[in-house]
């Protein structure tokens, strides 16, 4: 079983230097955990992120063949969003406009590396 408080503390570590919110959700759109100052409703953000992932995953399967979709990065008008697959869940991060894409990717990769093993333990029966 996952410890929700510890999971929130881990996600909270990413929320510095322009990073506004970090969410962990499942591909169906249910919010598992989140950390940060989320102005909008977090469950709506999670649902929209999951919808974007699922919309692109189907076409990515035919494009990437073996690997499938691993990463989505969006440079939007008011900020940047990154969605990354971790075990059988999705890690979604959104930042202010000032954050660079390199830093965004580096932090998401660090979080994903840390969460991969514990989430795999939960995912496997």
């Amino acid at each position: 079983m996952l410890k929700p408080k510890e999971l929130t503390k881990v996600l909270e570590q990413a929320n510095t230097g322009g990073f506004q919110c970090t969410l962990l959700l499942n591909p169906e759109g249910s919010l598992m955990a989140f950390a940060g100052k989320c102005d909008k409703k977090e469950n709506i953000t999670a649902a929209v992120a999951a919808n974007i992932w699922m919309s692109n995953a189907k076409s990515a399967k035919s494009a990437f063949q073996d690997e499938g979709l691993q990463y989505i990065v969006m440079d939007c008008e008011d900020g940047k969003v990154a969605i990354r697959r971790v075990a059988n869940l999705l890690l979604c991060v959104y930042t202010a406009e000032s954050v660079g894409l390199g830093m965004l990717r580096a932090k998401v990769e660090a979080l994903a590396r840390y969460l991969e093993e514990p989430l795999k333990q939960i995912a496997s029966p």
């Binding site: 079983m1 410890k3 881990v10 999951a50 919808n51 580096a106 514990p118 333990q121 939960i122």
Partner: protein, 151 residues
């Protein structure tokens, strides 16, 4: 003796506190209300309101239908996108920060080379940046997964 005493003190007005014969539940002062038709209607309308609110709030991400648009909508969007692209053509592009590349190669190649100190500086900074990015990691606290002891 205890039984004899309880019989004797049954009718005494001076006995204080609850006794073994006192009521546990208070006397009902009002009759129990029965559900009337108006309250049933109120409950149904409240239920309908809750159902309506839930239907409005639920975001169904599993229902993804094939992307299909009407022809009128497609042509309308095409017109809108073309007009936006046309408006962007008049926007001035940012000034290029690199030096202009309109000089002959002989002139360009005969210019002074970049100093080794600058090359070393850029190399060191890029290696340090790569090392800093690689060293980025999550601070380890308590373990995230708790194992329940199987009986």
């Amino acid at each position: 003796m205890g039984c004899f005493q309880s019989c004797m003190s049954k009718d005494e007005p001076d006995s204080q506190g609850p006794t073994e014969t006192s009521r546990l539940l208070p006397e009902p002062t009002q009759p129990i209300p029965t559900m009337s038709d108006s309250s049933k209607t109120d409950e149904e309308s409240a239920l309908n309101r809750v159902l309506q609110k839930t239907a409005n709030d639920v975001i169904d991400v599993t229902y993804i239908e094939p992307h299909s648009m009407e022809n009128a909508e497609v042509s309308g969007r095409t017109r809108e996108y073309r007009s936006q692209v046309a408006s962007l053509r008049g926007v001035s592009r940012p000034v290029a920060k690199l030096p202009p590349n309109n000089q002959p190669p002989a002139v360009m190649l005969s210019k002074e080379l970049v100093s080794p100190a600058d090359v070393r500086f850029v190399t060191d900074r890029s290696e340090a940046t790569a090392a800093a990015v690689e060293s980025m990691e999550v601070k380890h606290g308590e373990p995230l997964v708790v194992q329940f002891a199987a009986p």
